[in-house]
């Protein structure tokens, strides 16, 4: 076997996959300007992507903020910088950990659920049934979910940032003995508008990636239980990797 040919095949396969995802995203976006818009499905997607993700996002952010405060206190203590805990927790949560952890939790919770649901609809011919009922599956299934991701994930990220900082505050002002007023003042004074904006922009991008991957792999699912399982697994893998790659790209831009 020619190793160069194998590399070429892999590269072409990768490019073809990128092209297919780009076409899928483009088609999804095109339905935004072509009526009808399914408000009811959009409302349900807002609820399932946003509202029902609140508990898991809140708990993840709370524990991460608390752990981050402990780590910074321990690490900072090695060079006499324990006092920077409020500032580093704030910047760490808002610029990096908040968006990435929320993105990954959404990939785990929402992407998998969307992919499994749509893949099951495909194997049980519900997608074909939608078409025969004069309803475009992209318009009915994909667009509402992707829009819900675009709108709710930045809000979840904002909330995750606040809860993460709260986690740091609870640990910092509890076991670590920081003054409550000083902790809050240091946190608020240190954060800049750009930090918050970058966090929310990352959230919007991650929301689109997570929901789009769920829809893409669900719609492309093969037949049978194995097809549904594969679509679900592949959607979460793709969403997680793309979220981390997009995080690096966006951080480079906002750096």
């Amino acid at each position: 076997m020619n190793p160069l040919a194998a590399v070429g095949r892999a590269a072409l396969g990768g490019l073809a996959a990128i092209g297919r995802v780009a076409l899928f995203a483009g088609e999804t976006a095109s339905h935004l300007v072509r009526p009808p818009f399914y408000w009811r499905e959009f409302g349900q997607a807002l609820q399932s992507v946003g509202y029902f993700s609140l508990p898991v996002i809140g708990l993840t952010a709370l524990f991460t903020g608390g752990a981050l405060a402990l780590q910074i206190f321990a690490g900072g203590g090695r060079f006499g910088a324990e006092a920077v805990v409020p500032q580093i927790v704030a910047i760490g949560m808002v610029r990096e950990l908040g968006p990435v952890l929320v993105g990954l939790m959404i990939a785990a919770r929402v992407t998998s659920s969307i992919a499994a649901e749509i893949a099951t609809m495909k194997v049980t011919e519900q997608i074909d049934a939608l078409v025969t009922l004069s309803t475009h599956p992209m318009k009915y299934l994909t667009l509402p979910r992707v829009l819900a991701g675009l709108i709710t994930v930045p809000l979840l990220v904002g909330l995750g940032d606040i809860i993460g900082i709260m986690g740091g505050y609870l640990v910092g002002t509890g076991p670590l003995g920081f003054n409550k007023a000083v902790y809050l003042t240091n946190t608020i004074d240190f954060l800049e508008f750009g930090d918050i904006a970058s966090s929310l922009i990352k959230g919007a991008v991650f929301g689109v990636i997570a929901t789009l991957m769920g829809c893409y792999f669900g719609m492309g699912s093969a037949r049978g239980a194995q097809g549904v399982g594969h679509a679900t697994k592949a959607s979460v893998e793709a969403a997680a990797v793309l979220i981390l790659a997009a995080n690096f790209a966006l951080t480079s831009v906002f750096f």
């Binding site: 011919e125 074909d128 049934a129 078409v131 025969t132 009922l133 004069s134 309803t135």
Partner: protein, 248 residues
């Protein structure tokens, strides 16, 4: 009238349809029979545009299906899927009234619900099931709901894909009678796909046998027994010996 002319469809190296020619006159009930994997469902999907043929033409009332407005074209069709294909997340009445709640045929919600309940009654289900989820119904009831959905918007053409698969003989008979009643009462053009010879005799005006990617035989249901076609004879009598290989 639905006319398929020299329709070919291949999936990878597997040629499923190799030149299907079939005419379904307006208002007639055509049943397509044939072994598993011979492309019967693909024929229906080609007509509906769910699958694009590689070659050949399909016309409905003289208009090529590929050149028509999709929404208007599909609004003329109703389809009963093999597994029902009911939407799990919607209650029964919203499944039935799906078309009436959105798109060009949209009606006020109360009117759509009333029509859904009337259609459910038409297929022998009481209005009590209207607010149930499809998963709460038996297989036979799900088929009836699928049937109610297929006729909800008063289509001119209805397709039935394996309408009695998975049902006990009594329920299969009930579904066959319902289909025949609906086809006669509504005067629709119908194409049914089935392996079930009882269904064929109950539903069909005409029968077409698909084998090896082509229509092997077609004619009135009454001529089926004495067709003289060895493929059809083997199939309708369920014989292992004959020109159709048992191992495909």
């Amino acid at each position: 009238m639905i006319v398929l002319t020299d329709v070919h469809k291949r999936f990878g190296a597997n040629p499923v349809l190799r030149g299907v020619n079939l005419t379904v006159p307006k208002g007639e009930s055509m049943v397509i029979i044939g072994g598993s994997g011979t492309g019967k469902s693909i024929c229906l999907k080609c007509i509906l545009g769910l699958v694009t043929p590689d070659h050949g033409t399909i016309t409905v009332d003289g208009k090529q299906t590929q050149n028509t407005n999709r929404a208007q074209f599909l609004a003329r069709f109703g389809m009963l899927f093999q597994g029902g294909a009911l939407f799990d997340s919607l209650p029964v009445w919203q499944n039935v009234a799906f078309r009436l709640l959105r798109g060009p045929l949209k009606r006020p919600k109360a009117e759509a619900r009333a029509i859904a309940i009337e259609k459910l009654r038409r297929v022998g289900l009481s209005g009590d099931v209207a607010d149930h989820l499809p998963s709460e119904l038996s297989g036979g009831m799900q088929k009836r709901v699928g049937l109610a959905r297929a006729i909800a918007a008063n289509p001119d053409i209805i397709f039935f894909d394996e309408p009695t698969t998975g049902l006990d003989p009594i329920m299969a008979g009930v579904i066959n009678d319902l289909i025949r009643e609906i086809v006669v009462d509504l005067g629709v053009t119908a194409i049914t796909i089935t392996h079930d010879m009882t269904s064929v005799r109950a539903i069909a005006d005409r029968v077409a046998m698909l084998h090896d990617g082509v229509i092997q035989w077609t004619g009135p249901v009454g001529d089926m027994e004495n067709s003289g076609d060895p493929y059809l004879t083997q199939f309708i009598h369920g014989r292992a010996d004959g020109p159709i290989s048992a191992i495909r």
